[in-house]
Symmetry: none
DNA sequence: AATGAATGAGTGTTCATTCAT
DNA sequence: TATGAATGAACACTCATTCAT
């Protein structure tokens, strides 16, 4: 009946649908992030969004639907932000570092929503859970592309790229998941820098090290 | 009234208390892991444990209490298994590798419960949440001890140890969190080995590399 | 947060709130009176009122709240009926007798609810219990006002007015509390008349006796 | 099967039965009086009595049974104390005053249990409720006997004796029911004295007044 | 005679969802 | 489109009662 990635609405006007859904998801994201999925009621969401309970059901089939769109939006943000960050950069190493930095920054911005991703994905219907995981996989692949390009260009020595990419992802997510331990000890920018020292630099080739040095100098000037 | 770490019981006999709690927590761990905290009912737990609903309330104050002990047990297992694994080993590098391997293996054994840790810690009362996080911190410190010893002994070059330890932890947890992606591609033992290649070897000193080679040869013989 | 005398509602429209609460309290009064507070379930009340369980919780915070409004209504009825009964009468003795008669009659009308007052006040939260007792005190004071006026006017001889007022109250309540013994032996009107013979006439002065005789004649004519 | 006034026990030794029941009823009276019947659990009673839950069921059929014996004991105390108080006194007026005083005093002693009588009689099974009411009626009849004797002897003028007796009863009970209002304003002894002024003296004949004066003088000497 | 662990029916309460307006 | 009053299934939790020891 309904494909896992789309969400039906009883309302015709697509512009209104867009607008209302955004309004509702914004409220839901805030509340789900603060209190979790099960402790957030539809009435809470309606109140936070400044609309009536019934209206939510004009734009979403059920509560699961709201969660789905909320998580989908987080994933989509990831997928949008990272390409945007590396766009314009040519050098493979620069692209890799920019991608990692962008990931950390978007996690910082969507801190609570990222945690929500870990907490609540399992609350979704099975097919939608898969859909969300595929979104994550797509994001990973973007990082993987950057890493492979750097290997192909001879800046990074051959290595288990897919596992290393997971480390990039986990490192970024950790900024949200372990904020209670990390914040206060690092600024976001320091955290990114440390990440690169830990998860990129040790794998650079001679050529890569030289390139990295040049990049750092350039960045310092800018 | 009640300290966050203890759980009151209406039953006097400590042996029975121990036994029943274990029985209940075992059932709860299974169900919480499969369906999450909120979708698991007390009835479910009772049925799974083969006892009556009322009996659960003789050994736990409320549902939160059951979750707490469940999570506490996971953390305590971590804290027990890792020292046991490195006991007997003398060499700092060996101790570090054993610790990482032990962590991955205990995560494998408590796979669902580890995921539960990420999903449900926030469902706990605030003071208990803190208590659980302190347990995690203690585990981290054990790894940190190993890493620092290896640095002090000149096998690992000076590095941001606390962040690297986080990578060890995340790497281990990922085996549970991302099992949908990792299993099928790696066996547990391969995964451990890859982890060491990715998160230990790049940071070895000359001396460390030599020591590591010797350790590997020894392991292959055994 | 909530003052003891008010009851919050999730519904906005005050007219509907009024109507629904009346409907619910009416059902609750019947059931509480027949079976007592603890044997009456919210399900029972919903069924009796012809509404759903959930709806009760839109108009009352909890079961205690329903009991409170039920008892409050009884007390308020007392406070309304007695002034209405003596309004228009000028003569202090007439006012006193009318007040006593009105009290007996309202107890007769709210027979079961009056018994409920004795049975269930202690089931209320402490602050609300006090609130209810203050309502009773206010009613007593109205009777006390009548009695004192009659003493001041020289119709009743000086006497322990506050204790005598308690006797009036108890005499009225007894009509409900001891109905199993009194009904069948007295009609309500006879009971009122006997009460006046027992608790008013013995304390009349010469002047009071004369006035009382005149009042009785007048009443007989009307 | 079981007559309403008796309570079966699984234990043979009548002395032990007597002793245990007393122990249990004592605990129950305290708790029922403080918290009411429904808020008191069998576990509470067992704890208060210092015995096990199971043991209560060796001496009582069910919880209703415990309440019944508790109330029965109160009524029996009334029935025992009043005759004892008037025993030895010859003069009808003196007997009447002693009876009223004794009633007030026993109510004072069993203050909470007397309130319990009002709150919880309706919680009993129907036949036992009747049984308890008959006990009350018996007590009333003792007072009625005193009053009638005083009338017959020409000390009290002919009057609606049964209703006046109710006033005596209510007056005594009020000491428990309205203790929140009465205590602090009267001592028990003053309260008794005021009662006699209000509910006996106004109905005395000339002869009665003379006799009462003599009695008071005598009492003052003693 | 005495214990107290075990039971499970029954309670108050919540909240996703519907639908008349 | 939008509202929010109304529904009722489902849940956590309690406690009178039983029974193996």
């Amino acid at each position: 009946m309904s494909s896992p990635g789309s969400v039906e609405s009883a309302v015709a006007d697509p512009k209104l649908v867009e607008e209302r859904r955004e309004q509702i998801v914004k409220a839901a994201t805030k509340l789900f992030s603060e209190q979790g999925y099960y402790l957030t009621t539809i009435q809470d969401i309606a109140r936070e969004a400044g609309i009536s309970v019934g209206l939510i059901y004009q734009y979403f089939k059920d509560k699961d639907d709201v969660l789905f769109l909320t998580l989908k939006l987080v994933l989509e943000t990831y997928e949008k932000v990272i390409p945007a960050a590396i766009e314009g950069a040519e050098h493979p190493l620069e692209r890799l570092c920019l991608a990692i930095g962008a990931y950390c920054r978007v996690v910082d911005r969507l801190r609570d929503a990222t945690v929500l991703t870990y907490r609540s994905t399992k609350s979704l219907r099975a097919d939608r859970r898969t859909f969300i995981k595929e979104g994550e996989t797509r994001t990973n692949r973007m990082l993987e592309g950057c890493l492979r390009a750097a290997i192909a260009a001879g800046h990074v020595r051959p290595i288990n790229d897919s596992l290393l990419v997971y480390q990039y992802v986990l490192y970024s997510h950790a900024w949200a998941l372990k904020q209670w331990a990390l914040r206060g000890r690092y600024s976001l920018e320091d955290y990114v820098e440390e990440g690169i020292k830990l998860l990129v630099e040790p794998f650079l080739t001679e050529k890569g090290r030289a390139a990295m040095a040049r990049l750092k100098r350039k960045r310092r000037v800018a």
